[in-house]
Amino acid sequence: MLRYAIKRIGSLAISLIVASLVIFACIEVIPGDPASFMLGINAQPDTVAALREELGLNASLGARYLSWVTGMLSGDFGTSYTYRSPVAEIIGDRLWISLPLALIALGLTVLIAFPVGILAATKRGSWADMSVMGATQLGIAIPNFWFAMLMVLLFAINLRWFSAGGFPGWEHPLAALKALTLPAIALALPQASILARVMRSALLDTLSEDYIRTCRAKGLTQRQALWRHALRNAMIPVLTIIGLQFSFLLAGAIIIENVFYLPGLGRLVFQAISQRDLIMVESVVFLLVFAVIMVNFAVDLAYAWVDPRLRGRS
């Protein structure tokens, strides 16, 4: 296990380094000078030159990459060109909306998918199974931002149970949770549909295994065989999908934040693109890619821990 973990940490480090190089290279080839953009078209050349110096834009490429990476390692992401305040601070503030949103959506995904998937697998071929399969087909096909708009129409505009958008801040925890409810449901529904189908087919696979037949022959009821043996073995593919889904939820949150006017990372990055705040764009994108890589790494380790046969393969 230790050897496997060390090998995975090695490839994790390489992935992170290459990802940071890719992001840095992408941002570097962008046409247009941030200093001129910030100062407007009437700026004097010497003012632009002074600002370039202040922003560190005159240093060599390698030096800028190194200072960006070492800065990030010590929690210093640099200073935003447009906000004129530390990027880490701004991202930290926005993360307090995007991260809870993705986590609540992940919780909802699991809460919906597990019972629904188990029900469909145990009642295979019944009307309950058919309805679940039909509903999940719809859930996978529905664009989540459109579903979000429909929920706004029904629950905010017609029924007035929720607000149509905005975020009151965590000083009002209940109101904040309420503001994140509709966005989290919109994010969770398609992912829950996918997970329910994975759960169903993984359970059907394990339920047809010989050891389940042995359990039944030894006198266990269908329910006991399911809860004690089948479910645990079906969890391996399900865990992998949950890991992948977290990255989709984080990225998806960027879109959903737009529907609900939530001031999270998504709105931050779109504003940063239009304002040419490159350091902000590269920091947010790197943070999200970092999260995806770390989650996949954690899933791989959990996978090898649960199933020792997998440690031999990488």
């Binding site: 992935s15 890719v22 096909a141 989540n144 459109w146 990225a251 490159l278 764009v281």
Partner: protein
């Protein structure tokens, strides 16, 4: 079989709508008639009109072009690059080439298509072409992994051994023996990526990173509808249904194709 038929019917309806829109639409989508704005569905305007008085039915027909074209080209990019990479990795399993290709795939997987689109848009500005590139890049590792996985098991088959004994090289074996045998899998995955491409294009256009006005696109129509939803819900309903039904059709067709092409799976369903 029912899935396949229903899925193909749905998909064909939208494909025909997109094709017909090149020669005919009920109304010209480039003409603005502000006096006619936000009309509810009537016999004249089946799906009503938008905030510029444009016919929503005609816009959905034209928007289908953008969605379908973006998704198809993205699948072609994914297949065109991913399949050869997957075949090469499988043919040289365990080699440096295999390792480089697979780690490269892992890296691209870490960038959800939305993040690739954000990076590309930050560099080149938003456009439908950049949306295609973003979704296409994301499709590459999907096809590369699938091809490699399927090809690896084929390389152990007797007929591949026979081909090697006959003196065929790795490239010829990959093209003549491996590729035809993974084609079924690729077709099924192609329909799935096609439907995901339509969803991704809609999402990118919705946040302004995809097709730009005046090119009609379903995602853009929904973005415009967002502020009007209380006033005229139909403006948001029809483009959303168009996306939902196209994606549903493609998913059902993909499921149906898998059943037809791989009968073993039918037992499980």
């Amino acid at each position: 079989m029912r899935n396949l038929t229903f899925g193909l019917i749905l998909t064909t309806i939208f494909a025909i709508g997109a094709l017909v829109s090149f020669v005919w639409t009920p109304y010209d989508v480039t003409v603005l008639e502000i006096a006619n704005k936000l009309k509810s569905p009537t016999a004249d305007h089946w799906f009503g009109t938008d905030h510029f008085g444009r016919d929503i039915f005609s816009m959905i027909m034209v928007g289908a072009r953008t969605s379908i074209a973006v998704a198809i080209v993205a699948v072609v990019i994914g297949m065109g690059l991913g399949v050869p990479l997957g075949l090469a990795a499988a043919a040289r399993k365990g080699s440096l080439l295999d390792e480089v290709i697979m780690r490269g795939n892992d890296l691209i997987f870490a960038f959800p298509s939305l993040l690739i689109a954000i990076l590309i848009t930050a560099i080149f500005g938003p456009s439908a072409v950049n949306a295609i590139i973003a979704i296409g890049i994301f499709n590459i590792p999907v096809f590369a992994r699938l091809t490699r996985g399927a090809a690896l098991s084929l390389w152990t088959r007797d007929y591949v051994l026979a081909a090697r004994v006959a003196g065929k090289g790795a490239t010829r074996i990959s093209v003549e023996h491996i590729l035809p045998n993974v084609a079924n899998l690729l077709i099924v995955q192609g329909t799935i990526q096609f439907s995901l491409g339509i969803l991704a294009e809609a999402a990118l256009s919705y946040v302004g990173l995809g097709a730009q006005p005046p090119t009609p696109s379903w995602g853009r129509m929904l973005a415009d509808a967002q502020t009007l939803i209380a006033l005229a819900p139909h403006v948001a309903l029809f483009p959303g249904f168009a996306i939902l039904l196209t994606v549903l059709g493609l998913n059902l067709a993909g499921d149906g194709l898998r059943d037809v092409l791989d009968p073993k799976l039918r037992v499980l369903r």
